[in-house]
Subunit: 452 residues, 2 copies
Amino acid sequence: MNRQDLLVSLRAAFASPTVDDFPSIARTNHPADVAALLDELQPRQAWRLLGAVPPQTRAELFANLSAERQVGLAADIERRELADLFLHLSPDDRADLFNRLPEDGRETLMPALAQVEREDIRRLAAYPEGAVGAVMTSDYATVPPHLTARDAVEHLRAVAPDKETIYQAFVIDDERRVVGTVSLRDLIVAPPHARVADFMKREVITVSADDARGEAARLISRYDLIALPVIDSDARLVGIVTYDDAMDVAESEATEDFHRVGAMGGLAASLRDATVASLYRKRIFWLVMLVFGNIFSGAGIAYFEDTIAAYVALVFFLPLLIDSGGNAGSQSATLMVRALATGDVVIKDWAKMLLRELGVATLLGATMAVSVSILGVWRGGPEIALVVVLTMQLVVVIGSMIGMSLPFLLSRFRFDPATASAPLITSIADATGVVIYFSIATALLGIPEPHA
Amino acid sequence: MNRQDLLVSLRAAFASPTVDDFPSIARTNHPADVAALLDELQPRQAWRLLGAVPPQTRAELFANLSAERQVGLAADIERRELADLFLHLSPDDRADLFNRLPEDGRETLMPALAQVEREDIRRLAAYPEGAVGAVMTSDYATVPPHLTARDAVEHLRAVAPDKETIYQAFVIDDERRVVGTVSLRDLIVAPPHARVADFMKREVITVSADDARGEAARLISRYDLIALPVIDSDARLVGIVTYDDAMDVAESEATEDFHRVGAMGGLAASLRDATVASLYRKRIFWLVMLVFGNIFSGAGIAYFEDTIAAYVALVFFLPLLIDSGGNAGSQSATLMVRALATGDVVIKDWAKMLLRELGVATLLGATMAVSVSILGVWRGGPEIALVVVLTMQLVVVIGSMIGMSLPFLLSRFRFDPATASAPLITSIADATGVVIYFSIATALLGIPEPHA
C-alpha cells in the first residue's frame, strides 16, 4: 500500500478513536504514524488509548512521540506507571527521557526502579548531549567465539527480543574488549559447523563514547554499517549505535548546521511546533550581534562623507559592490562549512584550497566587474566605472578569502565552523567593501583627503 | 581497532603498493578506505593493483571510487575488461556508471554484455538522476508465501550472494505486486514450521520509482527500514532502496540544499577535488543575478539623494537597517527551507506559521529597535533616533514575512525552495529597507518631496 493511502485510512480510524479500536490500529500501523496522531491528542486522551495496548507496544509508541510530548505525558501519570513504562523502553530512549525529565521527576522515579535499571540509566544519562554515549544503546548482541555458526544463530534467536538489532553481533574477550564481529548474514551463509572465531571479521571499526555523535553517523555512513560498536576509555564495549539512530543524528546535525549558518541557535522542537518564545530566543542573539557588526560599515560611510558629497553617483553602486563581496564570501563559507561537516575536507587541506579559491575568486570578480562596467559608464561615466570595476574585483577576491578562511579558523580554535558563518562574513565583507570602495574613489577621482 | 590506527597502517602498507601485497590489503581493510587510497594513484597503477584481486573484490573497490575516478578508469581499459567489471558490479552501481560514461563508451560497451544485463542496465539507467529509480537496485530478495520460516531462511541463504540485503525479503504475487514483507529477524524468531504467509507484515510501505529520491530517504528514516520496496506505475516491484543508499541520498540532498541556500548550483565532485572551472560555473550565475538585484537598492538610494544630502547622519544607519531586515528574513527562510526539506512542515501549515512569524518578528524588531535607539540618539539626535527605531521595527517584520513566504511560494510553484533563498531575500529586503528608511525620514524630518 502507498504511504498516503495508509495515512488516510489511519486518520479516518483515528477520527473518533475508541479504546476498543486502538489495539488493532496500533497493531496494523507503523508506530511512527500512530505516534504522530497521538501527538495531536490531549494528554488524558492519549493515555487512555495507550493504556489499552500491551506495555511493549505502549513503550514503542511512546518512544516515537516528540520529545516535548514525552515530557508532557510523563508529568501526567503516577510514578509507578512511569516506572513501568521506563522498564519497557529501550535503554537509549530511557536515558533520553530521563535526561529530559525535570529534576524532581527524576528523583521520584529512581526509587521505583530496580538497582540494575538505575545503574544503566545513570550510566547512559551521564554522557553530554552531543556525545556518542548519549545516542548509543546498551541492547547489543554478543556471541561467544567458540560457538558454531548454527549455534550462534540459535543464540541470537534466543536473545533477539531484548536486542536492538541481531544483524550485527560482537565477539568480546574477558575484559569486554571487541575482538571481532559477525553479521547474521555471515552466520547464515557460513557452513553450519564452522566456528565463529574462524570466520568473524577481526578488524572492527569502533567509536569512543566520548566522541561527537556526528562521528558515529559518519562512520556508519562511510562503512555502510548496521551497528557501530562504542567503546569506553579502556576500550571496553559499552554500547552500539544503530544505522537508524545514525540517520536521525545525521539529519539533526545537518539541520543544526543549516540553522547555525543562518545565524541561529539550536532549535530543540520541530519548526511546526516551536513556540514564539523559543523562536525568539533562537534568533535574537545573532540579529543584535549583526546590528553592531554593521556599525563599522556605517562608520566607514560616515568617514567618507566628503567623497560621497562630491560624487553622489557613487552611492548608486554602494549596495551592489559591498553585497557582492559578502555574497561571494558566503558562498565560499557555505561550501566550506558543509565540506567540514561531512568530513570531505580537513584542516590540512586549507592552504591548497585557499590558493584555488584565489583563482576562482579572481575569475568570479572579473566576470562581475565586466557585467557592472556598462552600468558604471551609463550611470557615472568612465572614471566612476573604473572605480566600480576595480572595487568589484577586489571585494570579491577579499570576500572569498575571508569566506574560505573563517570556517577553518573557527574549527581550528574548536569553535563550531557553522556558527553564523554567512551573515558574519557578510558583515565583515560589507565594512571592508565600504573602505575599499571609497578609498579607491578618493584616490582615483582626486578628492582631497577626507576628514572625520 | 580504532579507525585512525587502521587508516595509518593501511597508508603505510600503501606507501609502495606492490601487486603481491595488494590482495591481502584489500582483504583485511574496508573497501571504502582502500578505494580512498586508490583514488590518489595514477590510472595505470590503480589498474595494476585492481588486476591482482578477484573480480568480485575488484568490482567492490571500483564501486567505492569517486564518480569522476570511475569514469576516468573506465576510459583506460579494454571493452572486454570493462564488460567483465560491469557484470560484477551491483545493478545500481552498474546503472550509475553507465549513465556517467560518454556516449561512445556506452555504445561500445553494450554489445559486449549479455541480453539480460543490457535490459537491466537500460531499465535502471532510464530513470532521471533525482528519481528513486536511479538509486534503487534490482538485487532484492523475495520469498514465496507458502514456505515455512525454516525453509525461507534456507532460501535466503541460497540467494544471499546475489542480493544487496537479505535482512528484508518481499512476498510478491503472480503480477509482482508486493503482498507482504518479512525480516530475517522475523524468520529466525518465528516457529520453524510457521508459514511466511501467516506472519508476514501485510501493510508494506512502498515508494514509486518516479518519486524524488529524497522521498525514499525520508520514508526509510521515518520508518527505520533496512530496505524500501520500489514499485512502478502498475504497482509491480521493480527494486529496493537500501538504508545505506538512503543515507548517501540524505547527505547529498542536505549538501545540495545547503549550497542552494547559499546561492550556488549543484557540485558533482567533492569540494576538495573540485576544479577551478567547476567552482566558477557553480557560483557565477547567482553572483551576477544578485548584482542586478542590488541595482534596486542603489536606485532607491539615488532617488532619495536630497534627503541624504539634508541629513547625512542617516547614512550611518543605512547598512545596519537594511541588513537587519535581510538577516531576519534569511533566518526565517533558512528555518523554512530546512523544515520543508525534512518534511517537518507542509504547505497547508503556511497561514498558521505566517501568523506566528508575525509575532516573533514583532518581538525581534522591538528588541533590535531598542538596542539601536541609544546609538540613534547619540549619532543623530532624538528625531533621527525615532526614524531609525520605526524603520528597524518595520524592516524586521517585513523581511521576516518575505523570508517565511518565499520558500513556500517557490515550492508551491514547484521550484526548489532552497534555491538562493537567503541571498535573494537579502536583496529584496535591502531594496525594501532603503525605500522604507528614506520614506519615513522624508515624512518625519520634513524634507520637501525628492525628485529623481
